[in-house]
Structures are given as C-alpha cells and as structure tokens.
C-alpha cells in the first residue's frame, strides 16, 4: 500500500521518458536505421546534422521568430492588460473575451484563416507571416498572465507613484513594469517556448525560409534516419539548457 504511489510515480515517469530515451539512445546508432539492435555508439549523425546548412538556417529562423514574436506578444499583451486593468473601459468583459478568444481555437484554424487572408490579399508567405500567426496565439496567453498579476498591490504602488507626481509614462516605466517583471518574463518565456515548438501555423504560413519544426517535418518525410534522432536530441539538449537557465535566472529570484 505504501509503495503503490511510488510505483505509480515511477511508471508515470517511465512513460514520460520512454520516447525521449529511445530517441536519444538511437541518435548514437551506428547504422542507418534508428531501431534495435543498437550498434554504436557513434557520433556520425551528430556530425552530419551539425554540418547541415538547411537545419542550421531553420534553427536560426526559429530563434528569430520565437524571440521576435515573443517580444511583440508580450508588449501588446502588457499594454492591453494595463489598459483594461488600470482604466475603466466600457465593455471590458467583452474586450477581455475577444483577446482571450484565440486561445480556445485550434492552431490549424488560426493558420488556415490567416493563410486564406494572406493569399487573398496577394501578400507573400514568409517568416513574417508565421511570426504574425504566432503572435495571434501567444497574445492571449501573455495578456492573461500579465492581467492576472495586476493585483491590488501593484495598483496601490502605481497610485502612490502618481500621487508623488509621476506621469503615466513614468508610472509604467518606473513602477508597473519593474514590479511585473516576473510575470512579463514568464509570459515571454512561455510564448517563446510555444512558438519554438509550433508546427502547423509555421507550416502553412512559410515558404522558403522555414522554422525548425517544419524543417524537421520535411526531413521526416524524406526518410527514416538517425539524423532525426540526432537533431531531436540536440533540440532537447538546447531546450533543457534554456529551461534550466531560465529556472535559475528568472524563477529562482521570484521566491
């Protein structure tokens, strides 16, 4: 009875780690097929992956899109949260619902809608359009996180600042943003993560320059290979490093 929970926990973690374990293991496969029996270990697929220009370009594109769209989403989300939380705007409930709405819609629908409009408008597809799509899905999240953290404590500090003669811009710059820094960073971090891993919008809305998930998708369509394991393992490693850094640098400080 006492060990049952621990067994369940262990089973849960086994399930969660199973695919990643297999993925990483067979990234060291010597042969050309990432299935048992395991031959190796070998780093040949890593060497191949790191030498692949398309992949490195896609990786860079992903970083740029994720970082850029995150900045836009957080900025817009912050401004909207500030406007709706700190000023009495008629119809706030409706506006909040509008801003949150994309969250309840499948990414595929967001992507398809944008694709239709971009093509009807005769605009070209590029990393920009993918970035726009990513802002659409991340703006609600940034807005919700920042809005939720605009509590009474912040509000009183802002009032105090105004009372002491600060203009609205100074209040935002000197009080609101620094006080909300943890929430703003968390929102940014989350939206970067979601963009980094997003496939369908990026797939529908890009053309020649693509993001990493789309590049991996086309690799996947062109053959089963430990290359995929290697690239997956590299992405995993980079992401984990990023998470751990963020955890240490951002979230530790909050407590």
């Amino acid at each position: 009875m006492r060990v049952l929970p621990w067994l369940y926990l262990a089973a849960g973690f086994l399930f969660i780690y199973l695919p990643v374990g297999v993925l990483v293991l067979f990234s060291f496969q010597e042969g050309t097929l990432p299935v048992p029996p395991f031959e190796g270990p070998s780093l040949r697929w890593y060497a191949e992956v790191l030498g692949d220009d398309d992949l490195t370009a896609a990786l860079l594109n992903s970083v740029v899109v994720a970082a850029g769209q995150g900045a836009v989403a957080v900025t817009l989300g912050f401004l909207a949260a500030y406007g709706l939380a700190r000023h009495v705007v008629p119809g706030t409930v409706f506006l909040r619902a509008l801003l949150i709405a994309p969250l309840t819609v499948s990414y595929l629908i967001v992507g398809l809608g944008l694709l239709i409009v971009v093509q009807r408008a005769g605009l070209g597809l590029s990393l920009w359009t993918a970035g726009i799509g990513h802002v659409v899905i991340n703006l609600p999240i940034c807005f919700a996180i920042i809005y939720a953290s605009m509590g009474a404590q912040q509000q009183n500090a802002e009032r105090a600042a105004r009372d002491l003669g600060a203009g609205e811009f100074d209040v935002i710059r000197l009080v609101t943003v620094p006080m909300l820094a943890p929430a703003i960073l968390a929102a940014y971090f989350l939206s970067v993560t979601l963009s980094w891993d997003e496939f369908i919008i990026a797939f529908l809305l890009t053309r020649f320059e693509v993001t990493l998930p789309v590049e991996i998708w086309s690799m996947l369509r062109s053959g089963l290979s430990p290359r995929l394991n290697a690239i997956g393992s590299v992405v995993f490693l980079v992401s984990v490093t990023a998470v751990v850094l963020a955890e240490v640098l951002i979230f530790r400080r909050r407590r």
Binding site: V35, F208, S218, S222, L224
Partner: protein, 328 residues
Amino acid sequence: QEELNALVWCDHTDPKLIEPFEEEHGVTVNLREYEGTGAALALLEQSRPGDWDVLVIDGIDVFRAVEAGILAPLPEDELPEADFFPEVVMKENNSADGVTYAVTEKFGYNTISYNAEAVDPADMQDLSTVWSDKYEGRITIYDYYLPVMGLAALASGIDTADITADDLETIGGVMSDMRANAASVAGVVAAQTALATGEVDIVVGGGEWLTAVLQEEQPELTWTIPDEGAVRWSQSIGVLADSEKPDLALEFVKYIVSPEGQARLATSSCFWGMPANMKAGEHLTDAQKEVLRWDAQETYLANTQLYPAPDTDLDIEMQDLWLETLQQ
C-alpha cells in the same frame, strides 16, 4: 544575390544536387516541395506572378499546366533529348501544338516492394496474391492515389491511360480489398519505417524510390514488377511563363538534365529513381546502377504503363474515392 524559386518534388531538395548549380552561377535556389499536381497548381494560382521560376511536375500532368498557360516554351535544341531513354522522352506529354514546354528528367516505378525474407517472392509476381488474405496486416499502401489506383486498374485489366469514371467502381472494389488487408497507409518515411522495422512486409505502390536508400543495410528489402505490370512515373521540368529570370531558369533546367545533374538527381536523398538521360550512367557507380537496376530498364519500360492522367473532374472523383477507401 540572385534567387531562383522552384516548386519541386522532394528529391530536388538535396543540397548535393542544388549546391553545384548555386556555386557555378552564384545564385540561391529556393525550393518548395509539394506532393500531387493539384497542390502545385493551386499553389501557383494563389501566388503572385513572378513568384516562381521553375516547376517540376508529373509527366502526365504537363498538359494541365500548359492548358493553364503557366509554362513557357523551351528551346528544344538546347536540351540533350537525344541522349534520353527513348521511352521517356514522351514528346506527346511534354509539348502541345509542336511547342515544347517541359522535359522529362527522372522516372521510376510504383510497384511492389517487399521483404524477401518474410514473404514468398513468387507471390509478389501476382497482384491478386500480393494483397490477399495471406498477407493480411502485413501490407502498407503508399499514400499517393494515382499510382495505387493505377495498380488497382492493372489488376483489373484496365489500362491506366483508359481509366474513366465508369471504371471507378471496379477500381474501388480492388482498393477496398487492398485496404482491408493493409495495416497502414503511409508516406515515404512511414512506408520505409514500416518495411525496415518489420512493421509490414509489403508496400503496395513502392519501388526503387522506397528501398534504394535501404539497400546497403537491408538487402532483403527489394522490389519487383509483377506479371500484370506496374505503374511508371516520370517527372518533367519546365520554366514558368511569368518568370522574371527565364534565362537563369533555363540554365537550371539544363543543369538538371545534364549528365552530372541527372546522376545527382537519380540518387538524391529523398528518393532514388532512374535518370532520363542515359549519359548519367557515366557518373554513377556500378553499385548505384545495380540498385537502380540500370540494365533491366528495357524490360521494365516494356512492362509498365504511365500513371493514370485524369482530367480535373475525374481527378476529384478519384481523390474522393481514395479518401473514401482510407476511411473505410
């Protein structure tokens, strides 16, 4: 730097194929891959004029592109068609009213791939035993409707060129049997995975393009053309009418059909296939030729029929039938 935009099948996205051209001409080639002529035509239709310079398209569908007025005439004399396998020059496909709009660049077969250690090779010579109960759950169907329906037609004694809406019922019946015994319907990688990992032992619609890359490690994975024959695919390449860089585009086409380009295209990473240009053989190793079954081409060409080439309406009906069969 000048850029060339090409809409292609995935075999053209191999850097080993593209980079030599880019270096020689100091340009960047942007590639967008697609699968299925419908998708390509739709994509072109929704693009702005001048967006695209080069198009790679199924040989049997060139006429549709010509009808849509999107291809530019090609200077026949600058193309080494004399060096081609005669069966794949396909003048009637690549030209209209005496004007050449495209040139064949690669061909191969959609037929039966299988694991020689797990099935009886003799069974593979007869399409009716290939997808019989005997191999229930051991089959994957290649996820492209044209070749698979072509095979179904051949199995029913219908020539691929003669398929009409009236034949769909017959073809549908065959496909229904096929689907009932299949474990999955799979794209290139999934089909490869399935075959390589022993998930299935037969890929209907497979061929050299599926097993060639696996040859070295898993020689038991092979392919054959059954007695009823099989479907032959061919790809053509052409220049788009509203390209703003027609000269560079033509250079690219010439590079692709040159012996060097052909050899690289034949063995490109996405899938292998026979080069249209026989002179490519000089640039291929014996092992590569062996995998491509270079020497058996004469027989194969004789025993295979081109992809079905439906008009727009029939095409839609065929696609619906295909999806219908998948969802069965």
